[in-house]
Amino acid sequence: MNPEIASPDRKVGPSTWSRILAIREVGSLAALVIMLLVLTVTIPQFGQWGNLVNITRNFSFVGIVALGMTLVILTGGIDLSVGSIWGMTAVLTASLMSQGWLIAPAILVGLLAAAAVGLFNGLCVTRLHMSPFVPTLASLSIARSLALIITHGRPISNFGPQKQAFYWIGGGDIGGVPNPFILFVVMAIIFWIVLSRTVWGRRVYAVGGNEKAARLTGLNVRRLKVSVYIISALCAGIAGIVQASYLSSVTASLATGQELSVIAATVIGGVNLSGGEGTIFGVVIGTIMLEVLRNGLLLFGIDPYWQGVFVGAIIVIAVSLDRFRKSVGRD
């Protein structure tokens, strides 16, 4: 027996303070809380119910997609195609309904198309050993092109026989709480449970931490990776459909460039782009932070030309807070 190994006797009990700092998300949470406080105190309209409803609905779309993106990034990948899939699914579902389809089959076909793009991404990554950047960039181009082909440049705003019911999905609310937000919360909870509690979720982390080890342990790494790309695409598809319903009209350019916002929300929420590290809670915070920032700058009446400067500066400051926590927490 080796007492040296047995009892980590040189371990010093962590103080309460460093215990708090050791929680991953404390940094971003602190940044968010500070932002909320500043806004509530300085702008009376910020805390009003109507504004809060707007904010929650707005971040829900990016948030839903960020959940799927989180899985992909946790496995060490990236998905650049989400913005295009989002637009493509919205346009496809809308177009089917405008041709008289009912809601359910139209949504189903829309999501199947999204899943097909995800499958393509996943297969290129796992079978053709491509860097995830390449096939998802190709899909970005292809899915947007498909959206253009479907609409031929015209907005679609006739959602067919069940359009009132369809409007409710993204535009309605339950007890005053907007539906997209409810959907986002439910999905976030599911993702959180799946990632932290299920076998599959833990394997996502394992693959991201050391893919070779996972493969040598006998995990079906390929299938797992393909599945995260499909889920990411499905999340983008869901966001597209819900947003189409909320906007009640869609064009082929819907969500162009949103992949960057989604990835930003994920990374600001503390997900490590090289895989294996990050939590759903952090991603939710990151998503909220970006939207509160946008909303706050507008309510402040910041010159729109200057807004980009503020957005950039606050992102850096928020993430610095997080680094600061880490360096203090580490000592």
Binding site: Q45, Q48, G50, N51, N54, N58, F61, L148, T151, H152, G153, R154, P155, S157, G171, Q243, Y246, L247, S248, S249, V250, T251, A252, S253, L254, A255, T256, G257, R294, N295, L298, L299, G301, P304, Y305, Q307, G308
Partner: protein, 289 residues
């Protein structure tokens, strides 16, 4: 009491066209003694525009002017604003199915027809191409529709691949002009539904048309474009394009303010057609001041 605040939301703040609208509305606002909240997406994004509109409605203003990216996606937020007694108008592009009170701006279909007429006058028949911004932009599609209403029939053929989208990017616009002229050295005409290569890359554009510049002067090659920014007028003056169809962004800004002011004072408002200028070699000096 507090001065009134009017909000003006363009499709994107980085489009030069709206810079003139902004100037117009700000100068008029000073005259009227009202405040202006001019804000919009950095890049054209329909969902972000709706978000911004929602924020403005939640914040509360005395009047709202919108250039919708997508005519129907703003219906909801306009209804919401009207419910809160905020008068709403549209400018530059319309949303006819919404509860907006009126529209201030160009009739894009009509403007497209004007372009078509100018084109037809110079080129009775031939092979042409169209350059456009995004394939999904409604106002540009209206212009193209109007243009084609006039320029149709067996005398005209549109080359395959047209309309070519440059994504509102001057660099791509010039590249497309280059490539199309390479592929179709005997092309007879070009219609730009917006002036990207002209105002965003005048010298590069001149290089791109290359030897065909002489044909333009001789009316053997016709280039009709939208917008009348100074860079474009200069190109027309030098004989590097044939005709320009100008909207009046400054007037749009001014008129939007006037209409909003009237509406907020309880007066009725009605559509204002700010009209178009058709600028050709003969009258270009009038506009080049």
């Amino acid at each position: 009491d507090k001065p009134k605040t009017f909000a003006l939301v363009p499709k994107s703040i980085s489009v030069p066209f709206y810079a003139d609208v902004e100037k117009g509305c700000k100068e008029e606002a000073k005259k009227l003694g009202v405040q202006i909240l001019y804000t919009g997406p950095n890049t054209a994004d329909e969902a972000e525009q709706v978000e911004i509109l929602k924020d403005i409605v939640a914040r509360g203003v005395n009047g709202l002017a919108i250039a919708p990216m997508n005519a129907d996606s703003v219906i909801g937020v306009i209804a919401e604003a009207r419910k809160k007694n905020i008068p709403v108008i549209t400018f530059d592009s319309d949303s006819p199915n919404s509860q907006r009170i009126c529209y201030v701006g160009t009739d894009n279909l009509q403007a497209g027809r004007e372009a078509g007429k100018a084109f037809k006058k110079l080129l009775p028949k031939g092979k042409y191409a169209i350059l456009t911004g995004g394939l999904a932009a409604a106002n540009l599609n209206e212009r193209i529709k109007g243009f084609k209403e006039i320029v149709n029939g067996s005398d005209y053929t549109e080359i395959s691949g047209s309309p070519f989208p440059c994504e509102d990017d001057a660099v791509r616009g010039v590249q497309i002009v280059q490539d199309v002229l390479t592929r179709y050295p005997n092309l007879d005409g070009f219609f730009f539904s917006g002036g990207w290569p002209l105002f965003g890359a005048p010298e590069a554009y001149v290089k791109a048309i290359g030897k065909r510049a002489a044909d333009i002067k001789a009316n053997k090659f016709v280039v009709v474009s939208f917008d009348t920014l100074p860079e474009e007028l200069k190109l027309l003056k030098d004989g590097n394009c044939s005709a320009l169809i100008g909207q009046r962004p400054y007037a749009m800004g001014v008129k939007s303010m006037d209409v909003l002011n009237d509406l907020s004072n309880g007066k009725p408002g009605e559509n204002v057609n700010t009209g178009v200028d058709v600028v050709e070699a003969s009258n270009v000096d009038q506009f080049l001041k």
